[in-house]
Symmetry: none
Subunit: 199 residues, 4 copies
DNA sequence: TATGAATGAGCATTCATTCAT
DNA sequence: GATGAATGAATGCTCATTCAT
């Protein structure tokens, strides 16, 4: 196992353990065991527990976002199709993946790690909202939608996805939410609300 | 200070401390100091840390929900007005109050406390969604709206409020969300999306 | 066991353990066991390991020095008798007592604890040297001795006592120094060197 | 860098680090970095931390002592001059040099390393005291001094030098002792005390 | 009942030592 | 021989819980 691989193993283990117990509740013993390394090895890769947490966020974010960015940038379709694409990306790349655990983790621990929250805001949230805003603006410019609400409050477009993640984290065991259907319903509501008209 | 009052003081202190540090990170020393009682006294009212957390959730939920229930049940207005009322209740009774901290706390700790999550689901979430569903159904019955999406997925009506709470918990310090404007925009989007027409 | 007694027990245990292993080498587990208290109890009395070390120094110093001060201040005899008294105090109150271990400990750890060394200098060393200086000055004034060397370098009077403590700490097991005879020889050498004449 | 040179570098680094932090407090990481070698390399030259400490003592002692031995053996002057020479050697070869740090280190750690203390006693202390004793005996034989105290307790001759080293280690930063003047005063006191007379 | 000192299991972190390269 | 990443036992400190007063 080389250095990069080991680091990856540690981060994967950390995601599991932090997601399961929260930051304060996570034991580095468990992270080490899960990663298959000695406890001391963690400290060869990360200065302390907090740095490990930071590494977690930094590691898991770049790929998804970069892909989403690229996919949407070069997409030629209508606003409706773009929103479908956005939802598809969410469903495939976030929901049910480690990224989902990370979102929950950030919501749970964010208030306790202001700098990390700021980083997350800068690198993830504002970029994601920027993408949404760009989609909405293009739709307006093309006359496909008539409301600028999604430009002013792009969070409204994302909210159901956030709630879906939170919901399944809390209630998924006994009252699971069908995320695909849920987000599809959101799509319909949203497009109609934005004044969408098939052209 | 009599027994009931003391219990109230402990729960109020616990809300502050748990909200600030999460379940694992909260120190009962701090709860005791904040409540103005000795540490041992906590154990006269709650069996252990977890019971205190449970007590917290149970305590803070009944009043808000009962009031919302009542207010909406006897409300004579249109669906649009009802949604305005719902938003007003959220803004006045949840956002910026201890209940808000509780929502964040439940999102953060829920996955670690399945029984508590189930309790929360039963006592809070499903009741709140029931109210939304009833409003939506009444709107449909009256012909004020045409879409049954809010009946099938009442979570869509609530999502922005959840996100607003989460957002301000994480990013409020440097990029605060104007909750009133945000939820008002949501209202417009939602009503139009549901096929609202002024009659 | 009341609070004061417990504190005393902890300090006594700490003296033993620190003297035996040095500051860095001492285990608080051992201090706790030796004191007959739980590990956490140490922290009710001292903020951390260093504070415990400080407490040690502060605790063991006041009594010896105050007694020496008083005994010498009211002593009416000649310079020779005073030096005998000084040596007697050293032999009875320092050599072979916990204070001896403390001297060794201070020599060993002083360079690592500048503030503690400064405290020790201020509260012990300079006061002890002040006593010596006063004795020497009185001898000069009375014409019992003729050299002012002990006024200028009172450390010369104390040096053999320091060396005796160090010697027995290191070599006592296989080449013990007869401290009483050693300091008595020092007395003779010193008095003659200072120009003592029986009057 | 050949083997001998590397060993020397390690010992020099070890002296610095051990002197600065004591045995238990010294980190072999620091020794390795200071010596410019990898941590594992230390173990090619010394079996473990303790062996390194032993090597330290053994390495730094031979030269000084051998030189002192030789210089004094062939010295033709009076007892007074010999003591001056002894003091000059101390001031030039010990005070302010690594050997000084070693003395402090031995005082601090000696009780924890009985075998090392025995070695030190045998190789350094008793040889140094033997030199002093020889000087004193020659002075007596020649009639230059009249007291045999320095033959019986040669430690009395060395004590101020030990105290000077200890003093400057602990208090040097804020109340430095002028070692030259101090030892010179000691010389005067000592010679007079021993019954020295210019012949 | 209320108190808060005492307890001790638990955890983050360090560092002497090993060993594959 | 030399390296330095990996190891894991050891240790300072914390904090939920207990209990004598």
């Amino acid at each position: 196992m080389d250095k990069v691989e080991r680091r990856r193993a540690i981060l994967a283990a950390a995601l599991t353990v932090f997601a399961g117990h929260g930051f304060a509740g996570a034991r580095l013993d468990d992270v080490a065991r899960e990663a298959g390394v000695a406890k001391g090895t963690l400290y060869l890769h990360f200065a302390d527990k907090e740095a490990l947490f930071r590494g977690l966020v930094e590691q898991n974010i770049a790929p998804v976002l970069a892909d989403a960015d690229a996919a949407i940038a070069r997409f030629p379709g209508t606003t409706g199709d773009l929103i479908d694409l956005l939802i598809a990306i969410l469903v495939e790349r976030v929901i049910g993946t480690p990224a989902e655990a990370l979102v929950r983790l950030m919501i749970a621990e964010g208030p306790r790690f202001p700098e990390l929250a700021a980083y997350y805001h800068r690198e993830v949230v504002s970029r994601a909202l920027g993408i949404v805003r760009a989609i909405a603006q293009r739709g307006l410019d093309r006359g496909e939608i008539t409301s600028d609400i999604a430009v002013r409050f792009p969070q409204l477009v994302i909210s159901p996805a956030v709630v879906a993640v939170v919901w399944n984290g809390m209630f998924g065991a006994f009252d699971p939410l069908d995320v695909r259907a849920f987000l599809s319903a959101h799509r319909d509501l949203l497009l109609r609300g934005l004044g969408w008209r098939d052209t």
